[in-house]
Amino acid sequence: MNAPHTAGMTTIAAVRAAGLVKRYGELAAVDGVDLEIAPGEFFGLLGPNGSGKTTTMHMLATLIRPSAGTASVAGFDIGRAPVRVRASIGLVFQESALDRTLTVAQNLRFAGLLHDLAPRVIEERSRELLELFDLTERRDQPVGALSGGMRRALDIVRGVLHQPRCLLLDEPTIGLDLPNRRRIWRFIERLRARTGMTVLLTTHYLEEADGCDRVVFIRKGRLVESGAPQSLVARLGRHILEVESASLDALVAALEPRLGAALREGDVAHFRCAEEDLALLAGLQAEIGAKASAWRVRRPNLNDVFLWVEAGKRVA
């Protein structure tokens, strides 16, 4: 192992990127991304499909080369020291990276040996991690016989077997049902509690990013908003007014002068409201609420931040 000098650990950013760009022909999949993630931080990269999350992550993991810009992971430059970067990270792909024909234990042995771990070390860590991820009883079953949720859990075990300092999780819960998504999050929590490793996560299940220390929204390859989830939500507003109507145009035209720009989704319009707007809202509801088929005032959440960011609107 190339052991880190402990003194430097706290000062070296886990991930640092400056002006990362990835172009595919005309298309800039990632268009100038700057990141700075502190060691131990739980960091979420959020955005819709095709926004550049995965491309960013794969550049950081040295799987694809940036068209421009630089980045370092655990202090190692992704261009000059790709092998040392890969030794410092664990990467869990959106799709499984396991051999379905081999057993759980055989897959972990394969992954461990590829990371130059001694067989005895692989045995020990596999036992611990399978315990942590509730997979102990599956040890000798072929991976093809596991459920989707178990396979994803095993993929994470595979990704952390070599005790990386930084774990990159690309949509770790995609395609899983709710109970399994919750299980995966419990596992990641346990892992973070136990190892204190930096976790960089991409997801488009926004409610799952609530636990992140910091999130950043990415849109068309550019970072558009960042901050702690709670503060982003707070910046959006105290309340969200949701109005539903068959004749939405007229309603929006009546409300926008008083509440600011609306965010429209089909027959629904969203408005951001401050605390002091509540009185105004009550008045508005009495005045024109009857024209709406639904009139809801609720607290905003990260999904709202996402929707506003997606609509290309600044949240702050």
Binding site: G52, R86, Q94, L98, L114, A118
Partner: protein, 260 residues
């Protein structure tokens, strides 16, 4: 530092081979059919001890098929996603090709050894065998076949090409060698094709080892030199092919907004 990863790839290859029983049985039956059925049939026409002449050829065939199938497993790894595990390993890309090459060569050599035991039991190997040379021939031919396999794999995007690979790589390599006939008695065009085929020299080396010389066309030194050169050259080209990032698309991901 690089030994364990190679061992990992090798161990997985042998595990897979041991589990795919039909693949292993086919690897034994195919050469025996050639030897006993085709060899037996032609012996009646040719009139010489044709079956003995075929022994090096069928042994080589086992290595050619064994190494090709193992090396083409790389394409399967890409399709099934197992390649992702290798991609994130802290290894230079070229080393992954070397590891696969070694594993494919080992798979081929193991199958050749199993066939050798069967051939010995049937009485086709024995008296005239030069064992040291045979060991060298098995090693050198396995590696050269694995090299051809990795080269082919580096140019194959999907396993659907497999029929094409059979027709345009494995069969020509096998038939345009001295496996079934002495190279020097081929018509000029075929003769030149055979001399350009590195596999020819593997079979030739096996003839030196098993037939004690008379059936061989080239010198042992030339055979070994060509096999070594072919292995190194194909490994180099395959490494270069696999070090390009496009080699892993769309396995890593398909960039959004880009039609495939």
């Amino acid at each position: 530092m690089l030994v364990r990863p190679v061992y990992a790839v090798l161990e997985r290859e042998l595990l897979r081979m041991a589990r795919q029983r039909t693949r292993l049985v086919a690897a034994m039956v195919r050469p025996l059919i050639w030897l006993l059925v085709i060899g037996g049939g032609f012996a009646a026409i040719v009139g010489v001890d044709y079956k003995s002449f075929l022994v090096p050829g069928v042994l080589g065939m086992t290595m050619l098929f064994g190494a090709m199938l193992a090396a083409l497993g790389t394409v399967y790894d890409k399709e099934s996603g197992v390649m992702r595990m290798m991609l994130v390993a802290p290894l230079p890309r070229a080393w992954m090709v070397v590891a696969k090459l070694i594993a494919a060569a080992a798979a081929a050599a193991v199958q050749a050894l199993l066939l050798l035991v069967l051939l010995a039991l049937l009485g086709y190997v024995g008296r005239r065998t030069e064992w040291g040379l045979l060991a060298a021939a098995l090693a050198a031919t396995s590696f050269a076949c694995a090299g051809i396999g990795m080269l082919t794999a580096s140019f194959s995007r999907t396993l659907e090409n497999f029929a094409g690979i059979m027709n345009f790589v494995i069969f020509p390599v096998f038939f345009l060698s001295g496996s079934l006939y002495p190279v020097r008695e081929l018509p000029p065009a075929l003769y030149w094709a055979a001399t350009l085929n590195p596999y020819t020299y593997g079979v030739d080396l096996l003839k030196h080892a098993l037939l004690a010389g008379p059936g061989a066309d080239f010198s042992v030194a030339l055979d070994l030199a060509v096999l070594a050169a072919a292995t190194i050259a194909s490994a180099a080209v395959a490494s270069w092919r696999f070090s390009r990032e496009s080699a892993y698309e769309p396995m890593i991901h398909v960039p959004a907004g880009r039609a495939r």
